[in-house]
């Protein structure tokens, strides 16, 4: 067993070395820690003897929910999509580390790209009214007095478009989105919280990176 773990450790170290060269924001040790964390998470879901490509959607969602306090299903799916770059419905180790590098430590530009990907439900590189509507659907309290309960949401979508659609084509392109966020940083998570808050980042990093130091 110890032989196995020794071999494992060596393997992980080499892997970490290669990945850390490709990924920003994490150093080698941190990558190593993330690999271990990944393996632990993966270990929970694997049935022995069965090779797995990575974290599946449900597993990933539970991570987002438990560790990063996310609640909105649609947004969590979006986050999964943003992590899952090759669209194979699994998050591989590499995707995991790359994703986390933006998720935890991304610059504003990286965050803009990431958020846009999360919100871009159909992957056509633009946000249409139809995509915004479901994301904002639950953001207003329904007033029993109103005739059309969706009217407020629709209005909110229009307000948002008016504010962010700089080329006036009725949808938000990535350029529109980027420009708006640069103007007003608050619009980064315009359609729902998809980035962790500072406290959960700190908690996660502390747990994952410090835990590893004891080993």
């Amino acid at each position: 067993m110890s032989e196995m773990s020794a071999m494992n450790r060596k393997l992980i170290q080499t892997l970490a070395e290669t990945i850390s060269k490709q990924v920003q924001h994490f150093n080698k040790t941190e990558v190593e820690c993330l690999i271990r964390e990944f393996n632990v998470l993966l270990g929970e879901q694997t049935t022995p003897g069965k090779a797995v490509a990575g974290l599946d959607r449900i597993q990933f969602r539970s991570i987002l929910h438990n560790i990063f306090k996310m609640t909105d299903d649609m947004i969590m799916d979006g986050v999964f999509r943003a992590f899952d770059k090759d669209n194979d419905c699994f998050i591989s180790m590499k995707e995991w580390i790359e994703g986390l590098s933006v998720f935890l430590r991304g610059t504003l530009d990286e965050h803009i790209k990431y958020c846009f990907d999360v919100y871009d439900l159909n992957g056509d590189n633009s946000l249409s009214r139809e995509e915004m509507f479901p994301m904002l659907k639950n953001s207003l309290i329904r007033q029993p007095t109103e005739e059309d309960p969706d009217e407020g949401i629709k209005d909110l979508v229009e307000i948002t478009l008016k504010k962010m659609d700089h080329d006036h084509d009725g949808k938000l392109s990535f350029t529109d989105f980027e420009k708006s966020v640069k103007e007003e940083n608050l619009l980064l998570e315009a359609f729902g919280t998809c980035l962790p808050d500072t406290t959960s980042i700190e908690a996660f990093e502390q747990r994952v990176f410090q835990e590893q130091q004891y080993q």
Binding site: S139, I159, L187, A190
Partner: protein, 1119 residues
């Protein structure tokens, strides 16, 4: 008819006894109904119509004999009907202008005859017959009937009447009575429909009811409820306690009520009624708002249905011992029988309420179940028991009147009470508690009202106008979210509509109501509606929607007043402030970004503070998020522009937190992004401190929080945007001695001087201003010179278009020039010439400083000539005609300094400057008086023909002598100095003596002020030279105090005193007095002084004493 007339009809305030019906829609409506009733009467009820009235109805009619046709006997202008009663009297009799009518049939005929004037006739009839029913049926009959239970059937009524009244046709009378009452009820219910639209619950009504209920849980035995409490203590400006997002649903507040017998009730009070909810125990709970019961119209109804114990006991409650809340004054209300009291007048408001109440009771199903005992409502008891008289009345069996089911209020006002017609009445009664009470209000014994107050208060004279006004108020207050800050303090004032609400009504003194201008919707800009919509989303949105909405709101021009006020008026400020207390960083950032901008508006600032927003903002200063801290500080910088806000910041520990923000490393060459943010936070902190530092206590707080060294560190920053708030704060605080010392000690003068050469005007201004304030201290002045600050100050004088900068720079130059070394430096930089040029066309704040500087410059002889050469004398003399006291003090000082030069004096004399200075002695300011008097001294000394000049000033000497009565030592000293100069001219001395200068001077001699002593002694010395002044000074007892002056430590005092004593010693009596006081010893000591004048005077004095002694001895020897 009786009730509707007494309660529904709107009578005028006419107090002569014959009230007039006003021409209000309600009255016209009533009149028409009554007219219709009368017209139909004889055809519908022929039998009753023939019944002869007990007393005729009589009134002044407009009808004349010619209007009457057949069936009438007409003789001249008199008319009698052919129809007669059994005794042969005519049933209608007209003797102009009065008409007497004795039956309904005649009444309806008359109405037919009156044709188009019939409405007026009915009105006149009602006005002059205030209780027609009593006249028609007779008082005893009515009272008999009214005592009967409403549900007694007709036959038993008839029996009763027969017993009492052995008159004729009791059946007819009873029928007639019932008919009239029926009519009455119909009228009332119709009236009600007019008002009915305005009924709903409101915060004050709820509050009042809760107050009442709270009293029910007070005592042991009588306890009806265990506990009544609100879930939240916070009351919004509109009187609601529910969270904003629930207020949208019309919910007012939530209550937790523990009845004695059932489980705890969680109750929601909304504008539509009260109902049980799932269970809101505390504020901030997300769930529990659903309705789980029927809607009840008020709390009491709900409790009755839920708690049998409550229903049972509420009726038995005796409230006599309960203390009533002191918040409301109410006229004392006692129970009074109307028949006994005659016809009191009524205020229309009450009547309307009564109508309403009665109608309500008729129309609401009796919820109290089968209980149909008609007894006074407990609240009436409550009020009634306040006086023994009322209590007695109350104990009588109350009279119930047929089908009448309502309390009735009448208001009887003593003559003195009319002016204070602000009656407040509780009209409300519990459902099922039907009483027919007549209640009289006594103005003279104002009692405290029970929790619920009712009755709209309005002055009686508000007639028909009152109603329309009330309607106007309704329209305003019923607009949700429109309760703007004006109304914050009087939430109770905003509910006229609901004043007619079912359970209890609210009254409020009209004078106390803030003026409300009905806003006409047409004037509102489109932004208003857009913002209103956004605020709605803010109220009902989650984090995402809130952030989006906030961003959208930022796109409005928030610096524009319409938008700022729109946000406030639609309730947006409350939401924004509420957001500050959430955990959502983004929402807080967004909210602060908006608040920061709209707080440029004065009214918004005040509203934010009123709403307690500043506390939340101060709290955010502790946030770990730097952007948030920076924004919060910036917002404070805007809000804390008035004193109350600054105090609030301090009281909530804001100063300490802001000072903490200053802690950063500003001067590193390359900062990390994080450090840069720290610097930005520090800058915002400095901005906020700058605003706060305008209050003295805050300056102290900043110092105590250790702000000065931090500011000193930031002062080394290379960035102007950092330096401006830092220097701004420092210069603001430099008004305090402690800061001036600290600024000098922490080496900030160097940095201040350095920044004088910045190219930012504002920064330069604040630096100059800081130096201005600090340079009171000599060391600071020297430091400024040492760091080369004098030249940049002079250079700033060229920026003559920036007046603030100019004022600060000239101020700094003035204070720096107090040091002579600095004046020499300034001379190198040609400051004097520049300053003289600034003497014209500058605002006063600049002039004060320029003239002050010139005054200091002129102390150097060379500069006196320079000022003259630059033409400064003329400008200075011109300034003597100003009114600014600070300026006058400096100008007189400068003129005085210039006048020490003979050539300057010639010019001053030529310009009549002395007269101008002299007239300033009349200035009320002591500073100006003394400064002018000091200036006079060199003028008189150096003027060519001084004596003549002084004499030419009519009344001038008298003025000066009178100023010796001043209480200000500086004024007295300066005046004494001037008198000493004036007295050198013998003629003038004579005039001074005539004006009684001697006793006034003598009276002053007891002073201990050395400065005054010196000049006083000088003046006395000079005044001795005339007539018998020496003797009179001695007689006034001035010698002994003068001798004491010799013990003073001030050499100048010694000199002038010695000279005065020398003059006085020429009088033998004075010599004796001096000698007695032991003058010789100090004088001999002074003879050894270096000061020749002193030596001479002391020696002269001793000589005079010695001569007297010698003469005395010779006299004894050679007698």
């Amino acid at each position: 008819m009786g009730l509707s007339l007494t309660r529904a009809a709107q009578w005028t305030t006419d107090t002569s006894g014959t009230g007039k019906l006003e021409l209000t829609p309600m009255n016209v409506f009533l009149l028409k109904e009554i007219l219709h009733f009368v017209e139909q009467f004889s055809s519908q009820h022929p039998q009753e119509a023939k019944n002869v009235f007990e007393e005729p109805l009589h009134w002044s009619t407009t009808l004349v004999a010619s209007d009457f046709k057949t069936d009438y006997d007409i003789s001249d202008s008199d008319v009698q009907s052919q129809e007669r009663d059994c005794e042969g009297n005519p049933l209608l009799q007209l003797s102009p202008p009065t008409v007497y009518v004795r039956s309904f049939s005649q009444l309806s005929k008359l109405v037919h005859l009156a044709d188009d004037k019939k409405l007026e006739e009915v009105q006149a009839c009602l006005e002059e017959n205030r209780d027609p029913v009593v006249k028609i049926l007779g008082p005893s009959f009515v009272s008999t009937l009214e005592k009967e239970d409403a549900h007694t059937d007709v036959l038993s009524l008839v029996d009763k009447v027969k017993e009492k009244d052995q008159g004729k046709n009791p059946e007819v009378k009873v029928k007639l009575f019932l008919l009239l009452q029926n009519m009455d009820n119909q009228l009332l219910s119709k009236c009600l429909k007019e008002i009915a639209g305005q009924v709903s619950l409101d915060p004050t009504a709820v509050k009042n009811e809760v107050e009442l209920l709270k009293k029910f849980c007070s005592e042991g035995e009588k306890r009806v409820l265990k506990l009544v409490r609100y879930t939240s203590d916070y009351i919004f400006s509109n009187g609601c306690r529910s969270p904003l997002w629930r207020q949208v649903h019309g919910e007012i507040c939530y209550l937790v009520i523990e009845p004695c017998d059932t489980e705890t009730l969680y109750i929601t009070c909304s504008s539509a009624g009260v109902f049980l909810n799932v269970g809101i125990k505390q504020e901030e709970e997300e769930s529990g708002y659903e309705r789980t019961s029927d809607m009840y119209k008020d709390l009491v109804t709900l409790l009755k249905s839920r708690s049998p114990h409550f229903a049972e006991n509420i009726n038995k409650q005796d409230f006599a011992v309960q203390e009533l809340p002191s918040t409301q004054k109410i006229q004392h209300v006692e129970l009074v029988d109307v028949e006994e009291q005659g016809q009191p007048q009524r205020s229309y408001e009450q009547q309307e309420k009564n109508v309403h109440e009665k109608a309500r009771q008729q129309h609401t199903p009796n919820k109290a179940g089968g209980e149909k005992k008609y007894e006074p409502c407990p609240r009436w008891k409550n009020l009634g028991l306040m006086s023994p008289c009322g209590k007695a009345e109350e104990n009588k069996p109350s009279k119930s009147s047929g089908e009448e089911k309502s309390g009735e209020i009448q208001e009887n006002l003593g003559p003195g009470a009319k002016s204070k017609m602000k009656a407040e009445f509780s009209v409300s009664s519990f459902p099922g508690r039907l009483s027919s009470q007549k209640i009289k209000a006594e103005e003279k014994k104002p009692s405290k009202s029970s929790g619920e107050k009712s009755g709209e208060i309005q002055k009686r004279k508000l007639g028909s106008g009152a109603k329309s006004k009330m309607k106007a108020e309704f329209s305003v207050s019923s607009l949700p979210g429109r309760l703007s800050s004006q109304k914050i303090k009087t939430p109770a004032g905003s509910m006229p509509v609901e004043a007619f609400s079912e359970s209890s009504s609210e009254s409020e003194e009209e004078e106390e109501q803030p003026e409300r201008r009905p806003e006409s919707n047409t004037d509102l800009p489109s932004e208003y509606w857009q913002i209103q919509k956004l605020v709605k989303y803010l109220k009902g949105g989650d984090q995402t929607a809130t952030v989006l909405t906030l961003c959208a709101m930022m796109d409005f021009n928030l610096m524009q007043e319409t938008c700022q006020l729109a946000i406030r008026d639609v309730g947006g400020l409350e939401v924004l402030i509420n957001l500050l207390d959430t955990d959502e960083v983004k929402c807080k950032i967004g909210s602060l970004k908006i608040l920061r901008k709209i707080s440029h508006n004065v009214q918004i600032r005040r509203t934010i503070v009123d709403m307690g927003g500043l506390q939340s903002i101060v709290k955010i200063l502790d946030s770990p998020v730097k952007d948030l801290k920076a924004l919060a500080a910036k917002t404070i910088a805007n809000v804390a522009r008035f004193r109350r806000a600054r105090t609030t910041v301090r009281q909530y520990g804001g100063i300490k937190k802001l000072v903490k923000l200053l802690d950063c490393v500003p001067n590193l060459a390359d900062l990390t992004a994080n450090q840069e943010k720290d610097v930005e936070v520090a800058r915002c902190g400095a901005l906020a401190l700058w605003s706060c530092s305008k209050s003295t206590k805050n300056k102290e707080a900043i110092r105590k929080a250790g702000g000065i060294p931090l500011l000193g560190r930031l002062l080394k920053s290379p960035h102007e945007n950092m330096l401006i708030p830092v220097v701004g704060t420092l210069q603001e605080c430099a008004s305090e001695e402690s800061y001036r010392i600290a600024i000098q000690m922490f080496g900030m003068i160097k940095d201040l001087v350095k920044n004088l050469s910045s190219d930012n005007d504002e920064l330069q201004m604040h630096c100059a201003s800081a130096i201005f304030k600090c340079a009171e201290d000599k060391q600071t002045r020297d430091l400024v010179r040492k760091y080369g600050g004098l030249q940049p100050l002079v250079l700033l004088l060229s920026k003559s278009d920036n007046k603030q900068l100019l004022a600060a720079a000239t101020g700094a130059i003035w204070k720096c020039s107090i040091s002579m070394e600095n004046v020499a430096k300034f001379q190198e930089y040609k400051a004097l010439e520049t300053l003289v040029r600034l003497l014209s066309d500058q605002p006063e704040e600049v002039l004060v400083n320029v003239v002050g500087a010139l005054g200091e410059f002129a102390l150097i002889p060379a500069n006196k000539a320079n000022i003259r050469k630059c033409g400064g004398i003329k400008s200075l003399v011109n300034l003597l005609t100003g009114t600014n006291q600070a300026l006058l003090v400096n100008v007189t000082k400068a003129v005085g300094a210039c006048a020490t030069d003979m050539d300057n004096m010639a010019i001053i004399d030529q310009l009549d400057g002395v007269r101008l200075v002299w007239s300033l002695l009349k200035n009320p300011s002591a500073d100006v008086q003394s400064s002018a008097a000091w200036a006079l001294c060199p003028c008189i000394k150096n003027a060519k023909d001084a004596g003549e000049m002084v004499r030419s000033l009519v009344g001038g000497l008298e003025l000066i002598v009178n100023l010796l009565k001043s209480t200000n030592n500086e004024v007295l000293a300066s005046i004494c100095a001037a008198i000493a100069k004036i007295a050198k001219d013998k003629e003038n001395l004579a005039v001074l003596t005539d004006h009684g200068v001697v006793p006034l001077l003598a009276k002053l001699t007891n002073t201990t002020d050395d400065r005054l002593r010196r000049h006083l002694a000088e003046a006395i010395g000079h005044c001795c030279m005339w007539g018998s002044n020496r003797a009179s000074i001695g007689d006034a007892g001035a010698v002994a105090p003068l001798v004491r002056y010799l013990k003073s430590k001030d050499k100048a005092v010694h000199q002038s005193t010695a000279m005065a004593l020398y003059q006085l010693s020429k009088n033998p009596n004075n010599c004796i007095a001096m000698h007695e006081k032991g003058v010789v010893k100090p004088l001999i000591h002074f003879m050894g002084s270096d000061d020749e004048t002193l030596q001479e005077a002391a020696a002269g004095c001793v000589r005079n004493i010695r001569l007297l002694a010698l003469a005395n001895r010779n006299a004894l020897l050679f007698r």
